[in-house]
């Protein structure tokens, strides 16, 4: 089955300069009861985004009309904690195609890659440059190219390359799927079972 394709984007970005954002903040456990993959975007950052009466909190960035775009830029150790893939679904469902941070938790990174949501890990310094650029101009454009593995602040031309597993890169660019790949080697799996 084909997965969501990611090749290249140029977009404005939403800044969230908080460190150690855990997946319980991205999508609290009480919203994990759905049995489909749809609709999690409504509850993305639920408790930071809405008050107890479900009214938007004006001081939260997703409720600030000045900021928008397809890229979420966040502080280091993004996505730590629970393995809930619902976190990647929520970010993607809300409309983000990539998350930029100076450090990602492992399980979140894997979940994101499995859902066509690109985690872009940059240096602390470059992350700060992106935050500064966004705060200086809310509409500043960020360019991310997966094929050539770079992220650029368009206005200044400053850019940095980023790492991505070559297999997952091929999957995202071509929409390949892990299960299809393993099933193509099913004879090896059965052979392994037979001889161990």
């Amino acid at each position: 089955m084909a997965t969501k394709i990611f090749k290249h984007i140029q977009t404005s970005a939403v800044p969230l300069p908080i460190e150690n954002i855990d997946t319980d903040q991205i999508i609290p456990a009480r919203f994990l009861k759905a049995t489909t993959r749809d609709g999690f975007g409504n509850n993305l950052f639920r408790d930071w985004r809405f008050d107890d009466n479900d009214h938007p909190k004006q001081d939260f960035v997703l409720n600030n009309p000045l900021f928008s775009g397809k890229v979420l830029v966040a502080g280091k150790n993004f996505g730590c904690g629970s393995s809930r893939e619902h976190a990647a679904w929520a970010i993607s469902d809300y409309g983000f195609d990539a998350v930029v941070s100076s450090f990602f938790a492992d399980i979140f990174k894997g979940n994101a890659l499995n859902n066509g949501l690109l985690p872009v890990q940059v240096s602390d310094d470059f992350l700060q440059k992106i935050f500064d650029a966004i705060y200086a101009d809310h509409e500043t454009q960020i360019e991310i190219d997966l094929q050539d593995q770079f992220i650029k602040i368009v206005a200044t031309g400053e850019q940095e390359s980023f790492e991505v597993n070559p297999y997952k890169k091929a999957c995202m660019i071509n929409g390949y799927d892990d299960i299809d790949y393993i099933l193509s080697q099913k004879d090896k799996v059965e052979q392994f079972e037979a001889v161990r």
Binding site: M1, P17, I18, E19, N20, D22, D24, Q25, P28, A29, R30, L32, K33, A34, T35, T36, R37, D47, D52, G75, K76, N77, C80, G81, S82, S83, R84, E85, H86, A88, F103, A105, D106, I107, G110, N111, N114, N115, D124, Q128, N165, P166, Y167, D178, I179, Y181, I182, L183, Q185, K186, K188, V189, F192, E193, R196
Partner: protein, 471 residues
Amino acid sequence: MGQTLFDKIWDAHVVSSAEGFPDILYIDTHFIHEVTSPQAFDGLRARGLPVFRPKQTVATADHNVPTWDQHLPIKEELSRYQVDMLTKNCAEFGIELYGLGHPFQGIVHVIGPELGVTRPGCTYVCGDSHTSTHGAFGAIAFGIGTSQVEQVLATQCLLQSRPKRMKIEVNGKLQNGVGAKDIILYIISKISAAGGTGYAVEYAGDTIRSLSMEGRMTICNMSIEMGARCGLIAPDETTINYVKGREFAPKGEEWDKAVAYWQTLYSDEDAEFDSVLRFNAEDIEPMITYGTNPGMGIGVTQHVPETTSFDVKEQGSYKKALDYMGLHDDEQLLGKPIDYVFIGSCTNSRIEDLRQVADFVKGKHKADGVTVWVVPGSKQVQEQAIREGLDKIFDAAGFPLREPGCSACLGMNEDKIPAGKYCVSTSNRNFEGRQGPNSRTFLASPLTAAASAITGKVTDIREFLKEEELV
């Protein structure tokens, strides 16, 4: 060059390894539960695939279940629906389910070990980050996302790149009142909530070796709280004695063969690790967390750090955490009034945890104004506790023994800590809202939690133990 324990197990499970691709790793047992599996089963249906090895898949309902009046239908509609979906999916795909009412039901990371499903040298996955628990047996155990749950259901394999290897050694004698939970909270406070990211962590040293299997599970359980891919401890006599005779443990000749293999599972003397850390057991106090990630922990007598002690870039996040917790710079938690005590979760809900708490609270009573929940990790733990009369000790102390489930660890079922309230919790996460919207969590050991329930405030268990020695 010698091999690490991790590499020995990994290599024995590689189905295929190709340049530029992650390894295809064979998974011996796949644990599933109601929250992270429904979309995976839908995926199988969409692909027209069966579960490849249903006999190697074990299911239970734990996250959504109530821990009181469990024989009644689940009140919350969405929770009930999710549990019903698991029942339906297991029936359709031929998977054994230890659902509500089954004598083997319980928290997935408690039942695997107690049933003898978790064994040395094997690979385990589950759509739950605390799957690292099973590594306590000298096994490789990963938490995975739902796409990977689907992958393992479809193929009994996981695509995975080999992580780096870290060894954490703890040596020396623990102070009285200090246990496995304090060790792991101490380690995480030293290396941070991201300090293990990218690593498989092997715990070693004489202090780790002296721990029971329950204690080792507590340590490995929280490996994910430092970001580690998994945690593991080489099997020894303690491991073998624990597994022996359990429901699904090998028997007879199979057992002898298994034990002979398990005895080869250790890191060779000259094995190389990418990182080695050493800690002294004597330095570890009873630990408590003050912030909103498990790395924000201190010895119970210490003070909350000053904001200015952090890098300028980190100060905003630090202040946000203290504001959430209602704490200020340099505050001492010792003596801070608390509202709730939760003893349970996949970190600390095993029979040994309950015995330790019962032994301590016998003849004591909880403070007025504190609500205490003791939630056994499984039906078997609950029944064992009742057989040993622990329930009566708990009742007399005002610590009602509830029914098994994840309970107040994650604010998904009925057991939630109310907004603004402080809970001393034996669980594994103190994230904002983890135990319920705006709840405030102090993570600690079962003994610290029990002592705090008795006094109604954050308490140094060592003071209690000293007094008891004098009596």
